[in-house]
Symmetry: C2
């Protein structure tokens, strides 16, 4: 296996982190025909995966013991480090020539450090953060942005194909995380711009639905205007992608900006507004609830979407 | 004519303002079969239009004297007021039942005032600002956002059909200008977000072309990422749409925000960056040159696109 592709029916995959994204992803790997051994801190998701055909593991080390490749899908860098390098971690059992595929969103710097540490024990690593949200995870339609070696990317390709539709090797280790940071910057900035535009229309006495419709086909058109613009019109802020997670991701982006010496001016401002959502109890709302911040900054006339 | 549609071969149109947008628009009206009488401050554009089949007029009053409808396409509200209400202006000759179609980008407030003034002398008015740039004007592929009465909109529909492809009656007088302001807010905010994202990638040692490509099909995908993202990669900032005009348009948007009581936080910031382009001699560059501001704020490493 070590030189070839990780094919369904052949490769054994360990999977750690069965959250809102990880659970449907692991399920899609089982459905594709992989032998999948799963671990999660809370037990319910493990039971559901076992019912779907996965094997349970008592911890990260056990999930990695017989695996060709281990996927982790965790909240942030400290979680990834603990699961991989900690006591009873993935690195304690994953065999030489095995591969860690980190699909979490963490910083490029933390990624490179981890990849170097693992390389010393002969373990390969790809960073492969995703976008597309829970729906993309369920539908196996994720965008996957990969950093690492070309040969490792080629080996992992069948795994990615079972999880997403748009799979790009961006560059070397960490490059997938840089692309993900870029993605989160663009998404946040566009949501904020759409929120300001539609709020201006509504407060000016003009139907924001008409404005959205008129703008969709032109230069202002975007997936965000289509999807999140509609959520703002409906004042329907069920996630989707939680404001507090986008706040975390922009923290990673700003850290990357500091490291690379890039002034991320509007990104920093929008992150403050996501922080404002968290402070006012809306951290679990969809990130399109940035429209609520624009409303609040604009006084109480209208109060579209206030719960 | 007064109750029916303004049809090619029947309706006589006056056209004032043959700039980068107005000239190709007037040309498309001639090509569609309208009788078009044109006026412009400088003579060259008039001569070109006359060669294409239009009639020349000595001033706005002369352009409007025999017209069923007069189109104006001018830089800002003071120009529109002067051309319409000034000495030798459109309003001094346009007949009762005639129509002014203002396709300039001005404020909704100035629009409503002008519409009320004209209504007192029995002249109808539509505000019909456009997006799509010079290319959209040449290709008769503009997005046209219209404010005014439904009956007036119906009469002008054949004229709009000769100029654009996406034509929407947004609402009452001024609503077209509100939609245009919303459009300019979304476009500016998205360009800035793309500029921050691609600069972060490049300064992090990751190929921004790969990042753009990976993001295009996902949630971060937009016309701006496609078109302006490519301009940033090429460091090709020929307009397109000039930074100084976008700066002007966001001034109108912020004014509208003040009137409506809406906090346009990121819009205000991006307008400052467009102002910074003007201050550094890049006011005539395409608005995607916002990437240069991000570069400058980030020190001199890289200096992508500095001329």
């Amino acid at each position: 296996m070590s030189a070839g592709e990780y094919l369904p029916g052949e490769a054994r995959i360990g999977f750690v982190g069965l959250g809102i994204m990880g659970e449907p992803m692991a399920r899609n790997l089982v459905a594709a025909g992989y032998s999948v051994t799963v671990h999660n801190r809370s037990r319910e998701a493990v039971d559901r995966l076992v019912a779907a055909g996965a094997k349970p593991a008592s911890g990260p080390a056990a999930a990695a013991a017989d695996a060709d490749a281990v996927i982790v899908m965790l909240p942030d860098a400290p979680d990834v480090r603990a699961v991989v390098l900690g006591e009873n971690g993935v690195a304690s059992t994953l065999r030489e020539g095995g591969m860690l595929i980190d699909m979490s969103t963490i910083s490029a710097g933390a990624t490179r450090e981890l990849a170097e540490t693992l390389a010393q024990q002969g373990v390969r690593m790809l960073d492969a953060p995703v976008s597309g949200g829970q729906k993309g995870a369920v539908d196996a339609a994720l965008t996957i942005m990969v950093g690492g070696d070309e040969a490792d990317f080629a080996r992992a390709q069948p795994i990615f194909a079972a999880l997403g539709t748009r799979i790009t090797l961006i560059g070397e280790s960490g490059a997938g995380q840089v692309a993900k940071a870029a993605n989160q910057i663009v998404v946040a900035g566009t949501i904020q711009a759409v929120a300001e535009a539609l709020t201006l229309a509504e407060r000016s006495g003009v139907d924001p639905a008409q404005v959205r419709e008129a703008l969709l086909g032109g230069l202002a058109g975007s997936k965000i205007l289509e999807v999140h613009g509609q959520r703002m019109l409906d004042a329907s802020f069920d996630p989707g992608f939680k404001a507090k997670l986008h706040h975390k991701d922009l923290g990673i982006a700003l850290e990357a900006g500091t490291e690379a010496g890039v002034a991320l001016s509007t990104t920093a401002l929008v992150r403050q507004f996501l922080g404002s959502l968290i402070a006012s109890g809306d951290g679990d709302a969809d990130h399109s609830a940035l429209a609520r911040v624009v409303e609040r900054l604009s006084g109480d006339a209208g109060e579209r979407g206030a719960s």
